[in-house]
Symmetry: C2
Subunit: 414 residues, 2 copies
């Protein structure tokens, strides 16, 4: 069974927002065995929306539409759907009640423009949206299903999880899709491909292998599709084992989790604790780690020591070290990591200090120069990296490099 | 002139990665007066790619294609383009030289699979990619331009900025598109719409107004399109002024910059400094701030105080406060903010402590309970928020709420 996702909104086409909804929806659909054929973003333009609907209907059985349901004049999805399906409008009592409740909860006067949120094309089924004022609308036409949802991520997510996905699962007999991901680090895509070429060539037609490189890591993803869940799983696990034993020294984890989560799991299993001392990454490593529930059993916290003064007062870096070698130096980053271990009382620490850019470079330390140290109680390893002149990229690459260094130290300490 | 963006890659359609390239490309195209008609994501499937190219060609003059150019077997874009344009292959010397140089730089042996990166459809023009081994390919057919680029964001960005956009600008006479964004906070979308309804109704047809709500902020975006840049600017500025004077008390800044950047600019202009003391936001506020070049003149740093011990040792929160009131309390967050001011020696500080979830809630402090304090040397304002049970969302909402509180305090202190 095929689905398509249509996201509606000028803000996507002028690039003001990144469409994160589609990736989430695609993930959820894949998990229940629905393949996404295409993701299409179109503007708030009636003709173009109708063209996109017409074209999606030819390829897919299920068309999920997000966006353009706000109360303001630039939102035209509802009107356009009514035109496409040749329907009039009715005011839906369930939807109106929900709008009333939401305004009551926030103690706000109910405006006419808000009540109009409950007006829907008269041939659709309304799925009440408990998290917002725009109702979700379910249309059926010549055995194709169209669902229109608000584009606000948390409203869409709740509607998908609680309403749309369960309905699709009970309505269709769906094939199974099994994905298996292996996260690798310290090796490039081409070398990895060369290492596992024989295994890749032996894959049957219903199993695909993809390489997903990102910032010094490569994810390998095996995807199998078929009717027998159990045998698919067995097959995928078999090929995954072959790959893992071939490139074992580069494997971080055989699961679709981020690098920092793999490290957290590893440290948690060994009862270890971690702190961070960040300068140029400015809290990004801490943020990566603290995105994950349960991280507090491993991660105690850290410092974002941007100013010299804070490097001294929080981390105990010596003034002399900073003035002699500079903030971006092996000496400073080593003292930062050791200071974190000492002051934050953790088993391991990460420290980063660099020139993130785009300004602030010096002849001997151009923009992109980043010193990273990882420490345990007995040892500190420091390395210098030369990244680019792009700030955000330097922050992200530094974070990944620091995490890979920590991973390597943890492996050494096993 | 219309462009379309086609992104190719199974990883997008199974939701393994979020397509951030398209938003960036759309932004850049808009800035030079090219409207993006549609963004389409399709899988690594020959027929579907050809269908997408055929369909895009009907609507647009310029088709930008990213992805599917890696050296591994799952990447089929190049082969598919050759088929679509009915071309054979040739090995491009310039592209091969670049591949050689890149492998030399990283001191890696050059494999046959890497040299094949220089094989291109024989009717295309090669634009050498200085940042990677996949060449950029420029095709022309019946006055339509097709450009195929790698999907790796920094390679694509450099190719767009340095090669593609300059060529398009010199080749076509493009209309001007002027955008003007006004960032508001402390008011909901519907109320804002009601406040400025008369102005919105008076807009001419070539000027559009969009509402972009996000986490307690609403961005208003005026977009004007036409041939006379100067008069467009004047018109847009006039309507922007009308809106700003109508809803002045809710306006953060009349520029398309994030909330934290507006705050940084405001503080920099007033010579003020800032520190952060984060518990449940785990460095996210620090990360938001330190994304911006030049932030170090305002932002000195801060603590990510996840563990009780660090709240005491870095921020000076009293043990008694933590044991009596708990980490998520007005008392603790107040001491955190005041501790940051005192220990980090800044004029202002933000402190956040909450239950991000999904676990860790208590009957009196359910998941989503977040205490936030903002301080200057004389005053601390603390507020409690009740967000959701979604961890990432709670982190993001807490950060925005904290920044809005800081903004309001800065406005008060004017």
């Amino acid at each position: 069974m095929f689905a398509e996702i249509i996201t509606i909104g000028d803000e996507i086409l002028i690039g003001q927002i990144v469409d994160t909804n589609s990736a989430w929806m695609a993930q959820q659909l894949n998990l229940i065995g629905v393949s996404v054929k295409q993701i299409t973003s179109v503007s708030d333009d009636e003709n173009h929306i109708i063209e996109a609907l017409t074209s999606a209907k030819k390829r897919a059985d299920l068309i999920l539409i997000t966006g353009g349901l706000g109360p303001t004049k630039d939102d035209i999805t509802k009107k356009t759907l009514a035109k496409y399906f040749e329907m009039g409008f009715r005011r839906d009592e369930g939807a109106l009640e929900m709008v009333r409740q939401i305004f009551q909860k926030y103690n706000r006067p109910l405006l006419d423009i808000n009540m109009q949120q409950a007006d829907v094309p008269d041939g659709c089924e309304v799925i009440v949206n408990k998290n917002g004022t725009a109702p979700c609308m379910w249309f059926e036409q010549s055995e194709k299903i169209f669902v229109s949802m608000p584009g606000v991520p948390f409203e869409m997510k709740y509607l998908m999880s609680d309403e749309i996905l369960p309905r699709i699962k009970s309505r269709f007999k769906l094939p199974f899709i099994i994905h298996k991901t292996i996260l690798t680090a310290n090796i490039g895509e081409s070398f990895l491909a060369q290492e596992i070429e024989v295994i890749e060539d032996s894959l049957p037609a219903h199993i695909k292998l993809a390489y997903l490189p990102k910032l010094g890591q490569v994810r390998l993803r095996l995807s199998a599709k078929g009717d027998d869940e159990k045998s698919l799983k067995t097959e995928v696990e078999m090929f995954a084992s072959q790959i893992i034993s071939k490139v074992n020294r580069f494997v971080v984890v055989d699961d679709d989790i981020p690098l920092e989560k793999a490290i957290l799991n590893m440290m948690q299993a060994r009862g270890l604790t971690l702190s961070t001392a960040e300068s140029c990454t400015g809290g990004y490593i801490a943020h990566l780690i603290t995105q994950h529930p349960g991280c507090s059993s491993v991660y105690w916290g850290g410092a974002v020591a941007y100013a010299y003064e804070l490097k001294e007062s929080i981390l105990g870096v010596k003034e002399n070290t900073l003035t002699t070698f500079g903030a971006v130096s092996e000496e400073t980053v080593t003292e930062m990591a050791q200071g974190a271990i000492k002051h934050f009382k953790t088993n391991y620490a990460i420290a980063v200090s660099g020139v993130a850019g785009p300004d602030g470079g010096m002849p001997d330390k151009p923009v992109g120069t980043v010193w990273i140290a990882v420490s345990n109680k007995h040892k500190t390893i420091a390395k210098v990296f030369n990244f680019s002149n792009k700030r955000i990229q330097n922050i992200e690459r530094s974070a990944v490099a620091a995490l890979v260094m920590l991973l390597n130290l943890l492996k050494e300490d096993l």
